[in-house]
Amino acid sequence: MVEEIGRTADGNIIINVGPQHPATHGVLHLVITINGETIIKVEPHLGYIHRSIEKMCESLTYRQFIYVTSRMDYLSSHINNHACALCVENGLQVEVPARAQVIRVLMDELTRIASHELWWGAMAMDLGAFTPFFHAFRERETINDIMEETCGARLTMNYMVPGGVMQDIHPNFQQRVKDFIKLYKSKISEYDELVTGNIIFQNRMKGVGYLSPEDAVSFGVSGPPARGSGVSCDTRKTYPYEIYNQLQFEEILETEGDSFARYMVRIREMNQSIKIIEQLIDNIPEGDFQAKTKAVLKLPKGEFLQKVETARGQFGVYIVSEGGTTPYRIKFRSPGFSNLSALDHMARGSKLGDLVAMMGTLDLVIPDIDR
């Protein structure tokens, strides 16, 4: 598909970014038409890590298919698993024990912080600052260690199952999370000193990659990129699932719609996640961590959709069941896929160097886009 290297008929230059490029954070291929330094068009070519997860799921049972979803958005694996578990529970009409619900939300929010930490480090690295990456990973590693202790994995957790969670939390879990909160609070000011307040960084972000609220909605953009344009779309608030309607937290909105606004949304969102964790960490109810479910799960005939808020935006699981042990058809609505579709619109008319800032603030995870 890439015969277009060279010049177009009207003298514009066509260049390729990717599929292997440090700024794409994965195998994304962009064919960019430029006139001088100005971007005329950005055309994404996808599929370098397409594994046909939707087709695969058609031959996996309702217990098995959740494990595949950890491999989509690997930075939000808990939240992906959560969506699938909720969707199956919705079909089976299973009541999840209170303890499992709290553990799930705790894990979701820890994941969100870890994901935003990684994004923050990688984003700064894309713009030429290497140090923030190490700062971000210092905190992120702590979360990964907490996850490893309870889930046995650091990236593909597979911890949430239909009915609850796989096993109870590790005895050290609560103490280590509290230690993490203390660490996080002592370090978060460094983030602002290092990057947020940096005048060079601000100049590279402000006014770059403007996305109007109307366009954000039309392109199906969700998550921090949409909230940076002032579109209220936090699924935790708009369609509360699990126990989010009982928790005190704010939906972060910025109205500028540029890269800096999207950056600020994520930074402020981390603090809200900390707030949620603080509310729950001392209040984990006693009881079962998993509801009793049958060994072989059969969803009734029908269609089930569950939306959740991952670190990147609205993730949807759509199951069409014919009453069997495997889904007849399954569709994963991944936030990255829709967010990426707005990139061309955002980038047109801006400078080539700014493309990296735009891609950075869209927070693209390629396996999530390709599925």
Binding site: M56, V231, R329
Partner: protein, 152 residues
């Protein structure tokens, strides 16, 4: 708006549609020929204002295909599901990428995976699949691929 109010309102706009019972949200069945004008009305009507196309996908029922659209209004927080039955031999339906821009990518995906022809789509070609996968339609139920095994 509640489901009943939505139902009433949509029946006023387009009396030809029918409804499917038992779903999570109001489900509307529309013929492929009537879809584009209904879509424009759903998007532009001030009381409905379905401006967010959450998801668009296709289901292969072996005898026919069904397009499924999940619409949401960001302002009013109401949801509907639209379904349209397509002929398996020649599946085609009008594009809605002029109404919701996100449909551009989603329809390209459905095109390569199911072979649905989106009439008036600005750029209908492979998106995820590599060159050489034209006309293979991997998400159809009768698709077999012994080389790249995806059935477990």
């Amino acid at each position: 708006m509640t489901n009943e109010a939505l139902k009433e309102k949509i029946l006023q706009l387009s009396p030809a549609v029918s409804f499917e019972e038992g779903g999570q949200w109001l489900t509307i069945i529309v013929t492929p020929a009537a879809w584009h004008s209904l879509a424009a009305q759903l998007r532009n009507d001030k009381a409905l204002f379905f401006n967010f196309l959450f998801c668009l996908t296709c289901i292969d029922w072996k005898t026919h295909l069904t397009m499924v659209y999940h619409l949401e209004s960001v302002q009013f927080r109401h949801n509907i599901v639209i379904k349209s039955k397509l002929d398996a031999a020649d599946p085609s339906i009008a594009t809605v990428s002029d109404i919701w821009q996100t449909a551009n990518f989603h329809e390209r995906e459905v095109y390569e995976m199911f072979g649905v022809n989106f009439i008036n789509h600005p750029d209908l070609r492979l998106l995820i699949l590599p060159d050489g996968w034209e006309n293979k339609r991997p998400l159809l139920k009768n698709f077999e691929d012994p080389v790249n095994m995806i059935k477990l």
